[in-house]
Symmetry: C2
Subunit: 139 residues, 2 copies
């Protein structure tokens, strides 16, 4: 299997709420979106929002679940100030601030926000990774 | 906030097991990996494996959670045969087949496997998206 992730799909409680949130963050939906699924191109990966029950049904698993979903997404930026500014933007768009920005033992600076479904986004400045102008890292 | 996802991090139960699984899938760890965190470059996104408790602690949330984690990753391929072959490869690497490949109402062909922590991967042939030779889509 090639080392590639084509899509990340979040199963959301209310698609219209999630669509509005990511739009308020400044993201633009792909023209491939339909009323039932929202697509956003993010570099080489496509980010999708789909109703949680529909996603579970597609995977043939039960949709029930609660607590920590066991994964995080991260959005890296190029300075500590940009971490604070981006977290503020997310909160203004309707996110919940989960962890205010602070320094990490390994030398970075980060905070976390939660999207309307509680999915966690880290906003991080990491002085040890190369970050291109679009926000992508090379590890 | 720019439309960029820098990292996807999975919080795993046993890092050595997850490392071995993704390696058996044919993936190569980045030289930035440490004993505590495994990094894999996947196009513009970095894929990371980190102990679940450590990830929850970093996000300042409780680590408890169960059931459907509410998200899926997808790996797109260029034919129906490649879907079946890739699912077989994943099972040979230690994955659980969650949904055998079958046709979807919208015209695609896909199946799902679960990694050692139950994180779901869709392996999909989608005749409607452009797929480059590395496995990346444009939506």
């Amino acid at each position: 299997m090639k080392q590639a992730i084509s899509f990340i799909t979040l199963g959301v409680g209310e698609l219209s709420t999630s669509r509005a949130f990511y739009k308020a963050l400044g993201w633009t939906e792909s023209s491939s979106s339909t009323p039932d699924i929202a697509f956003f191109q993010a570099g080489t990966v496509a980010f999708a929002l789909f109703q949680r029950e529909s996603l579970a049904e597609d995977a043939a698993v039960a949709s029930q679940g609660n607590g920590f979903p066991g994964f995080t997404l991260a959005h890296n930026v190029d300075s500590e100030e940009a971490v604070v500014r981006t977290l503020n933007e997310a909160v203004a768009a309707g996110a919940t601030l989960v962890r205010p920005a602070d320094r990490v033992f390994w030398g970075g600076f980060r905070g976390y926000f939660a999207d309307p479904d509680g999915f966690l986004w880290e906003v991080c400045w990491n002085p040890f990774v190369k970050l291109d102008s679009d926000g992508y890292v090379q590890v």
